[in-house]
Symmetry: D2
Subunit: 345 residues, 4 copies
């Protein structure tokens, strides 16, 4: 039985608490929030859980094995570091920290202490994204591109730009899905509201191969879109997260190259390009709630001392891209290289 304390009971905290309460191998012991009025909602629903606005109580409770952090990004590092130093396993909301330096220190600390450090990359636990991973492994052929549009009206964040708020999802999904790591990033964007961070951004990820990835994020769009295209040499996928069912469509479409071997000295472009169109299939998806799977995995990883799918290194890789993208944004799209080596254990 893993004793758990949750810090932060704002937008996402209630989902974490609800799911934690349904895990047989976990016992939720504490919920902590600085805004005590939020805690009233916990009391009525979960009368056995202890409530506090003092994070120290969680750190000092020997029955707390793990801390789940759902506070604003700026506080992730401090809270997670305190928890690790108190010997607690840690599960942090995305992004894992507000800078590469912070994320590296968390990874180092967790490694040194042999503690489980997980980041809440929720989407990679959805049936849709796991099905895409399976299709990439079995059907897609060589990945050509990942193109995502993640736009809607609001909610503006005041302290981070739209990349840190929305593109983080795509970076986490790509970190899980793609067989390669990006080697550089270019980003352009704009802030339209005086005094607010960029509310629209376009990010290109460059890879060593011919793979290319692009993410469009926007807080000021008239319609909500959550749509990803994933092209491969054999098949192509459209992933529309707003579809009630049929979120994943697999298209048997592509280019064919035909014709006799080009004579010596001729360019390959003399070959005949053809277009192939076959069936489209929308595979049935596992509809288990992603957060439930994810928290169960976290608890199981603590038990077995194995790393979760989205471990501290994954969180760090995503923050590296976020930081580089923000740097490119300030340089009008100039390419910024990514050093993607892991932190030595």
């Amino acid at each position: 039985m893993i004793g758990v304390g949750v810090v932060g009971y704002g937008y996402w905290g209630p989902n974490l608490v609800r799911n934690l309460c349904d895990i047989p191998d976990a016992r939720l012991r504490w919920v902590c929030d600085l805004q005590v009025e939020r805690l009233a909602g916990v009391r009525s629903r979960y009368p056995l859980v202890q409530l506090t606005s003092d994070f120290g109580e969680l750190l000092n409770d020997p029955q707390v094995d793990a801390i789940v952090i759902a506070t604003p990004v700026a506080t992730h590092f401090s809270l997670a570091m305190q928890a690790l130093r108190a010997g607690k396993h840690v599960f942090v909301e995305k992004p894992i920290a507000a800078s590469v330096r912070e994320a590296e220190r968390l990874v180092e600390e967790a490694d040194r202490r042999g503690l489980t450090l997980a980041v809440d990359h929720t989407f990679i636990h959805t049936g849709a994204v796991r099905k895409m991973r399976e299709l990439i492994d079995t059907s897609l052929g060589q990945p050509y591109y990942y193109d995502s549009v993640r736009i809607n009206l609001g909610l503006f964040q005041h302290d981070v730009n739209v990349i840190w708020d929305l593109a983080v999802h795509d970076l986490a999904i790509m970190d899980y899905l793609l067989p390669e790591r990006p080697v550089a990033v270019s980003a352009t964007g704009m802030g339209h509201i005086q005094g607010e961070p960029e509310n629209i951004a376009y990010i290109t990820l460059h890879f060593a191969s011919r793979l290319i990835a692009h993410v469009h994020v926007n807080w000021l769009a008239p319609v909500k879109v959550r749509r990803t295209l994933l092209g491969g040499s054999e098949k192509m996928i459209v992933y529309d997260d707003l579809e009630p069912s049929e979120k994943i469509k697999l298209y048997d479409k592509g280019i064919t190259l035909a014709g006799p071997a080009a004579p010596r000295g001729e360019k390959i472009r003399q070959m005949m390009l053809g277009y192939r169109t076959g069936d489209m299939t929308a595979p049935r998806l596992d509809t288990t709630e992603a957060l439930s799977r994810e928290l169960k995995e976290f608890v199981a990883c603590i038990d077995s001392a194995t790393p979760p799918i989205a471990d501290g290194q994954a969180g760090l890789r995503v923050v590296r891209v976020l930081e580089a993208a923000t740097r490119s944004l300030s340089r009008q799209g100039a390419m910024v290289e990514l050093k993607q080596e892991s932190v030595p254990a």
Copy 2:
């Protein structure tokens, strides 16, 4: 009565011929194509039109006042220049020429000779784009962004990349719609088929104001998309060209800034950001065929010696962006500045 000769009877030529035959003030005299078998189709449908594979016949016919050019891009300059030098008015398929240098020389030649030079930016003559122009002038407020996705499977061009083939439409639309000219461009992209040009590209246009524009073009997408978002400070537009009707949707949505004037020294971000949502309206659109309007305008401009909406300067501005985008593409997204001054008359 304006005598017209058409050169090029491939994909687009038949549409030009059909529409030219319906203009009361024009008389189609010649259709010219190097592939003589194509001309058979003209003979049966338009028995009074003269057919040839010798462009010189059009140049030498004094009853030909204007030449319409619908041949591959690489030939635009040579054919248009010959026509101008023979004293003919010219209407050229988009893009007007294969380079800025070529386009400039055509503009100079037409100016010098007082001839009408028009480029076939078809979309700006559609009911949808004209309605957007009207909405920008009356309702949108300050333009914030133009975001376009123009993707499908095929047809690959072998001699120009996907920017020259597809993004040219968006550049022409923006040249017509937006109150500002771009000052720089960044582009990233990739070619996935060995020996072929880039088949996917992402282009950002930078402006002197907070306006930003972005175009995603792709020849290797599993689905066809033609969708543009146009955000403004007061209203936002979604333009979906694949909708059978309701191509334009005007959203009364946006951000509101509220609250007492910020105390001195305080940042504006302390003001309250709010979200405004009102009705959506899909205005009725004029469904006149764009090409018909456009060719009538060309003929009328010859008669009145006034420049068409899409004149040589417009064609030149679009080619400037195409050339700069291709340069940025080869530099992994590095920003390339645009000099947008007109060619002196």
Copy 3:
């Protein structure tokens, strides 16, 4: 302050309880369900509410002014009648009862005792349906037709056919929206699963005027559809309840009749029929939760002794059509007349 007891805590009961707890003028005192394990959920969330499996406790509690009934249809009459006889106001799930005779007796009993009897016709309290009512009153012209498709896969009911389960919603909506009452009904349908009631049905409502209404309900459809067309002489409406926003679209479309007055003896059909197409508008809708509005209205009606919009008479009218439709269904679509006079008070 109105004291309330809820009986039935299955599918819909939790929504009733949640909304009742948010009404300042109501106090939820009891939740009753025969399946005691269901009550555990109430205890943890609403610790001050009394729980029982004995309905008599609610009837005998003098602090209970009103009873909310969310049990299977077959039990509505018995529970509601007991409540009325105990002097309680009553709010019953749709349909109000399992037969016209039962519904009539409930209406009579409530009238005799001067008690408020309300039926849970939830949809008429949604922003979408209320907007339609407004548009019918102001813009639609003469109503021509109401056509609704309400289909999905499952959930089969075992004791009532698909008409009682799904068409009841449309009948309630029409009872609220349309300026006329139906005078007859025809229905066809089929049961495909041995031993189960009809799972697909088509119902036509006939009116004294040229208005016609039709409802297609189906428990065995591969896709979920909730779409209503409402045609009028001036405008037409599409109401798609599955649209996240823009549930209501108002089309300025129709037929125009033109031409000089037909000469004597000529039929009007010699007049020119034309088609008119204008803008489409999706008006902003009130997004208040319907059930919240409805329960507040119920409480206010008790206080002011005024009838609710969906009173017992409305519930009775809907049951009359349900019963007649089922009779027509068993007669292969033969028209069954409706006597729609109210029960005398």
Copy 4:
């Protein structure tokens, strides 16, 4: 080589002429229309075809083997009968005639003379409908229902109601697709424009088995819909003819019956009803133009003296349902039985 004459060059005639000109084994010899100005369009495009407004010229030309009739319905019988009596094979637009009696006489005449009589049930030659036929034969299980919506704004016909204009397509498709013939029909509807026939109608077809079919047709709808649901015991199909691709979607969905064999005397309803959801597949469809396939089949059937898929008997069966539906419509939905025996040869 089959010599062909076409009579009627209005809405559909040009499509027939264009496709006939592309069939190697046919030679188009005549186009006949009473409105001579229509023939001008034929002359310029097909200079070798003879033009006339005298139908007798086609009948008297010994080089004309077959007559294609694309005139208003009221004239089908007279023209087709004249053609048969002149020894010509006949291809008639749908519906084959304006009454059962007329259709029977055409079938008898063609049979007696050994001539090919075909009716233009175009949809059954589309890739979509042929794929549905294949899926019914291989995957659907026992057919449960056919439900079609075929609605739009205009074009009103003045001499036939909306059933004869639009439902005829669904009746022809069902005649081809379904393994059974309907035994009775019920129909309701309404005419909203004074002096015009019914513009909205709902038709139920009854079968000897549990199969049920329904068609909703409407000339006064704000949106265009062409959508058919086909439910079976194993799979279900959605056929949306307005989808640019993916017109057919096959859903692996349905009901499962589980549980131990019911004890003697127990009803089967005690068994557990379950819901099964698997993949959805949109199969690739043949995109050959239906009319081209159909006319080639007609010509081949003349050559081989074999009946076409849509022969006179098929045309007669469809007219039987049209006539019965119109009768039911005038009786407010009363069921009208269908006698579907073939005309004896």
